[in-house]
Symmetry: C2
Subunit: 109 residues, 2 copies
C-alpha cells in the first residue's frame, strides 16, 4: 500500500491530501456511479416519494430499490420520513443536485 503524506516527501515533491479523504471521495462518487441510484435521485429531484412509488416509476422490484436507498442513505444523500406504513424518501441536501449538475455540465460541455 502506498503511503502519501508521509514524513519523507515523494521524489516529485508533489503533496497529496490525506489518503482517507481520497478514499471517501471515491466512495462517494461510487454511490453516484450506478444508473439505478442516479434514477432514484432524479426521481426525488422534484420531491419525496415512497419506496413503492419509486419502484413502480423505475419498473424495478421493491427490494432492489430498498437496497439502493440504503446505500444512498448511508452516504447521506437521501433521508426518510415515516408516515404510517409508508416511508417517504427525499434528497437530504442540495449537494446531490450540485454534484449531478457538475457531472451534467461535463457531459453537455
Amino acid at each position: 500500500m502506498p503511503r502519501l503524506n508521509k514524513a519523507e516527501p515523494e521524489k516529485s515533491g508533489r503533496e497529496m491530501p490525506p489518503e482517507e479523504l481520497l478514499q471517501d471521495l471515491g466512495d462517494l462518487f461510487k454511490v453516484f456511479g450506478d444508473t439505478t441510484r442516479i434514477r432514484i435521485m432524479y426521481a426525488l429531484y422534484e420531491g419525496e416519494m415512497s419506496v413503492c412509488a419509486i419502484s413502480e416509476l423505475l419498473g424495478m422490484t421493491q427490494p432492489a430499490i430498498s437496497h439502493q436507498l440504503k446505500t444512498l442513505k448511508a452516504a447521506n444523500l437521501v433521508a426518510g420520513r415515516r408516515q404510517g406504513k409508508t416511508i417517504f424518501y427525499y434528497l437530504s441536501d442540495e449537494h446531490v443536485k450540485s454534484i449531478i449538475a457538475a457531472g451534467y455540465e461535463h457531459l453537455t460541455e
Copy 2:
C-alpha cells in the same frame, strides 16, 4: 427493462430525463468512483505528469496506471501530450475540479 419518458406517463405523473443521459451520468461518476483514479486526478491537479512519475508517486505498477489513464481519457477527463519517449498527462478541463470540489463539499459539509 423500464422505459421512462414514453408516450404514456407513469401513474405518479413524474417525468424523467432521457434514459441515455442518466446512463451517461452514471458512467461518468463511475470513473470518479475509484480511489486510484481519484488519486491520479489529484496528482494532476497541480500540473501534468508522466505515466512513470504517476506510478512512482502512487506506488503502483505502470500498467495499472496506464489502464486507469485510458479510462480517464475515454471519459475526457485527462489528455496526453507526447514529448519524446514520455507522455505527459494533464486534466483536460476544469470540470474535473468542479466535480471533485462538489463531492468534497458534501463530505466536509
